[in-house]
């Protein structure tokens, strides 16, 4: 009898191990393209001591460089952003982050206010798959699911990715247990240049009001920050696309006033920041490249330092040691990107081609 019980326990354990391994194997690794897929999970390996947490979509992970913020102002920061990160995903990521650390300020990029409903399963996955299992993750999944999605496929992603069995590549095996770090505290570096050719005009909309759902989560975010004595700063990051309407801006201005928050629209300050859209964007105005991100970060850093009095930690030996390593990695990646640009004419290992295809679509 005992022998049978032991056999059963061993078999079940072995089965669970095999299933866990298979699950890891089938999960997309996002190492050779769509690096955004790794951003959320990289946070868990961090030393969680940040003055500022940036949350939002690509307008934060492409436009803000925490390394510049450290180098120029000694401010420690991390970006919890991913591709088309919806406001409720930002809220739950913030909620989760506050379980690990208490920053002095949270910066939220407000572009995602325009989405009142879940948009696309693929983008949900980029944000949510990387989250560790927690109450926040389950809430984020529930809030984000499209009609035909199932919660269980986020808890056991093999149910979602099993069909990758015929497209598994060497990358899936190579990064089965450990993945390379791709971001710099959530910042996804791109040094290439694709200038802005056309300045878009906003299409007329039937209704410019942000949806109730978006406002609900913005309210929740405001409340969460107030409860935790955190300064919430709302920003609209500089970009040419997607179009940011006056009417939207007005609503943000009013919201900030009503809730006693700071809202900064950096679109109006692009010139003062020094952004040159013929040089400072890698995709024709959607996102800033390294040069643009460093300019913007430096400008915003002075506001954070002077107006919000965030401390300078550059004299802190312990933090300096941590950040020195990050700086080394930052410049080595910049160097690597430069050599790739020279060699291939594009960023071969940084998803430049994938980005092109996405743009074409």
């Amino acid at each position: 009898m005992i022998r049978k019980i032991l056999i059963n326990i061993s078999v079940i354990t072995l089965a669970i191990i095999i299933l866990a391994l298979l699950q890891e194997l089938f999960m997309p690794k996002y190492m050779s393209s769509i690096h955004e897929g790794n951003l959320v999970e990289e946070y868990y390996d961090e030393v969680k001591e940040h003055d500022v947490i940036f949350i939002g979509d690509c307008e934060v992970f492409s436009n803000v460089s925490p390394i510049t913020l450290w180098e120029n102002y000694g401010i420690t920061s991390y970006i919890r952003g991913s591709a088309q990160q919806l406001i409720w995903q930002s809220y739950y990521l913030l909620e989760e982050t506050l379980n690990y650390e208490k920053p002095k300020a949270v910066v939220f990029n407000v572009l995602s206010m325009k989405y009142n409903e879940p948009q696309k399963e693929a983008y949900n996955r980029l944000t949510l798959d990387g989250m560790k299992l927690s109450k926040s993750k389950i809430s984020a999944v529930k809030a984000s699911m499209m009609e035909d999605e199932q919660l269980i496929t986020y808890l056991f992603p093999i149910l979602r990715y099993h069909s990758r069995w015929n497209e598994l590549s060497g990358e899936d095996f190579k990064y089965l247990f450990d993945k390379d770090k791709l971001s710099h505290n959530g910042y996804l570096m791109r040094i290439d240049v694709k200038p802005v050719n056309v300045i878009p005009k906003g299409r007329k909309l039937a209704d410019y009001s942000f949806g109730d759902n978006s406002y609900d989560y913005l309210d929740k975010m405001t409340k969460l920050c107030k409860e935790n004595d955190i300064e919430l700063i709302l920003i609209k990051s500089p970009s040419v696309y997607p179009y940011w309407y006056e009417e939207w801006d007005e609503q943000m201005v009013n919201y900030a006033k009503e809730n006693n928050l700071t809202y900064i629209n950096f679109l109006d300050e692009a010139e003062e920041i020094g952004i040159d859209y013929s040089k400072d964007t890698y995709d024709g105005g959607l996102h800033l490249n390294l040069s643009g991100a460093e300019k913007f970060t430096d400008y915003f850093g002075s506001i954070l330092s002077n107006e919000f009095h965030l401390p300078d930690h550059r004299e802190d030996a312990r933090l300096k040691e941590i950040w020195d390593k990050k700086i080394t990695f930052y410049y080595s990646m910049e160097e690597h990107q430069r050599s790739e640009l020279e060699k291939y004419g594009y960023l071969k290992s940084y998803g430049a081609q994938a980005q092109e295809k996405e743009d074409e679509r």
Binding site: V11, I18, E121, H162, S163, N166
Partner: protein
């Protein structure tokens, strides 16, 4: 709710645990609650129809019982006074009364089915006639929704009321028990169509926890999921590509479509039945088998004895025999014997009953001409086969081939393709298109095209074909093993590690190769739409 949905699997797990934790006398009540919950999740409005069928059947079965008891009591009380003739006439009078109630029940319940399933089909045909007459008047298309499993539970319940009328068994006094018989959820989607006398004991008795039932039941469920998700739903992609693009896929593709659909339907339907029987077995309930390796049949008659067995026997017991031995049919037969001779005369009732049964079988499957033609073609093949039987026997005797392996293999192949040829009527959009595609098999010689990238045009990749090939070989091996008895029993005699490895490999195959989730359109079981 789909058998293959996460929600259903979750519901099952909860049910299996609760079922063996509660006092055994309440097990059937739990099943009733779960069955109604399952049904309501498919559409709360549908509950009205299943409840109407249950209540009407209960009331009329009670009425039949009252009449039958009254007859028995009367005959007992007046045993001495009544002559044989008087007894006979009294019985006939009472039977007549019962018949009226029975007809009322049949009309009401088949009426619900007919209105919901056939109104639009009828209107559509009337509109076609009106078109021919150049009138502007048109009957509207009604937004009728067919409740889940209505064809199955209506037939099952009407079988019950006919049996009560025939006094095969007494009526069920407890309406809730009858409700469970009508709505027992594993068989609700696509059968098997159970008989009350087969099911009543196993359904209502107390079921202790028996490890073998759980193990065998779960294995059968697993096997059903394998057939459905790995084979049927994957192959259906290719079938749909072929049949939905008849102008593009002709000739050899039609042959391929016939072959693929044969496998798809088999895997889909038997997979669903495996899941239903497996669930029942975990609950300690025995459901009737619905298949007996039908593709090993050597003739169409044998095929129909082994495919969808419970529907076939239903039609045989409740339609074919009653028609063929009815008074009017016997009279007709008598007249025909006198006019055309014994040989023709004795065939007339069988022919008429066969045509009626196959017409009904066809239209039971769906309100479309495709299904009617499908049913009548089956009938034609069976009747012609019967007529040719003496010729076949002579041929077998003359050439001594009747029992050789290769000849039997030929017969199996012939039956498989003949049935497949007729079955593809399910798939094309209308009868005309189907026959046009039959024509292209002969007129369009494009075998080479198939091996020149043709397979890859059907929505499947090479890796999918590999999975299908291995899976179909596995299905074949299991079918061959079944001839020696239950495969699960054969497996149970193997060492523990081999058993566990087998279960786990099948589980992994479903998990990884199953055509479910994003990118697949894993849908309802094909038969649940009938």
């Amino acid at each position: 709710m789909l058998f293959t949905s996460y929600r259903f699997i979750f519901l099952l797990i909860i049910l299996f645990i609760t079922y063996y934790l509660i006092p055994k006398k309440y097990q059937w009540i739990l099943l009733l609650i779960v069955s109604y919950l399952f049904y309501s999740l498919a559409g709360i409005k549908s509950l009205v129809y299943i409840m109407a069928t249950t209540v009407s059947t209960y009331i009329i079965s009670w009425k039949l019982n009252v009449l039958q008891t009254r007859q028995t009591d009367y005959l007992k009380q007046h045993k001495q006074e009544l002559s044989r003739e008087e007894r006979k006439s009294y019985k006939a009078m009472m039977k007549g009364k019962q018949r009226k109630w029975l007809v009322l029940c049949l009309l009401f319940n088949f009426g619900i089915l007919a209105v919901l399933k056939y109104t639009n089909f009828t209107f559509d045909n009337i509109n076609s006639v009106l078109d021919l007459l150049n009138t502007d008047r048109k009957l509207p298309v009604l937004g009728l929704v067919l409740p889940l499993g209505i064809s199955f539970y209506t037939f099952q319940t009407m079988g019950y009321i006919i049996d009560v009328y025939r006094e095969k068994y007494s009526y069920e006094k407890n309406i809730f028990r009858l409700a469970l018989f009508v709505s027992f959820f594993p068989q609700l989607v696509q059968g098997p169509i159970s008989r009350f006398d087969d099911l009543k004991e196993t359904l209502f008795e107390k079921h202790p926890y028996i490890a073998e039932n759980i193990s065998f039941g779960l294995q059968r469920i697993l096997w059903g999921f394998f057939k459905k998700l790995v084979v049927a739903d994957r192959m259906l992609i290719a079938v749909n590509t072929i049949v939905r693009n008849p102008d593009e896929f002709q000739g050899i593709y039609v042959v391929l479509g016939i072959f693929f659909y044969a496998i798809t339907l088999y895997a889909d339907f038997t997979g669903g039945i495996d899941i239903a029987i497996g669930i029942a077995q975990v609950l300690g309930i025995r459901l009737k088998e619905n298949f007996e390796r039908p593709y090993f049949s050597k003739s169409t008659t044998e095929y129909w004895r082994r495919w969808h067995i419970t529907l076939g026997t239903w039609f045989k017991d409740y339609m074919f025999y009653p028609i063929s031995v009815s008074k009017s049919m016997l009279n007709l037969s008598k007249k025909c014997r006198a006019k055309f001779g014994d040989e023709v005369g004795k065939r007339i009732p069988v022919y008429i009953a066969s045509i009626v049964v196959w017409f009904t079988t066809g239209i039971w499957h769906g309100a479309a001409w495709n299904f009617i033609v499908w049913g009548l073609l089956n009938c034609l093949v069976i009747l012609v086969s019967q007529e040719l039987t003496p010729l076949y026997t002579k041929f077998h005797e003359r050439f001594h081939v009747g029992h050789t392996f290769w000849y039997r293999l030929f017969q199996v192949g012939r039956t498989f393709w003949l049935m497949g040829l007729i079955r593809i009527l399910d798939c094309y959009r209308d009868v005309g298109t189907t026959f046009r595609m039959y024509g292209t098999i002969i007129t369009k010689m494009n075998i080479g095209e198939l091996f020149n990238g043709g397979f890859m045009k059907l929505g499947l990749m090479l890796s999918d074909y590999m999975v299908l090939m291995v899976s179909v070989i596995l299905l074949l091996i299991v079918s061959l093993l079944q001839r020696k008895g239950s495969v699960r029993r054969q497996l149970a005699r193997k060492p523990l590690m081999i058993r566990y490895a087998t279960y786990f490999i099948i589980f992994l195959a479903i998990l990884i190769f199953g055509a479910y989730g994003v990118g697949y359109d894993s849908g309802q079981f094909i038969y649940s739409q009938f």
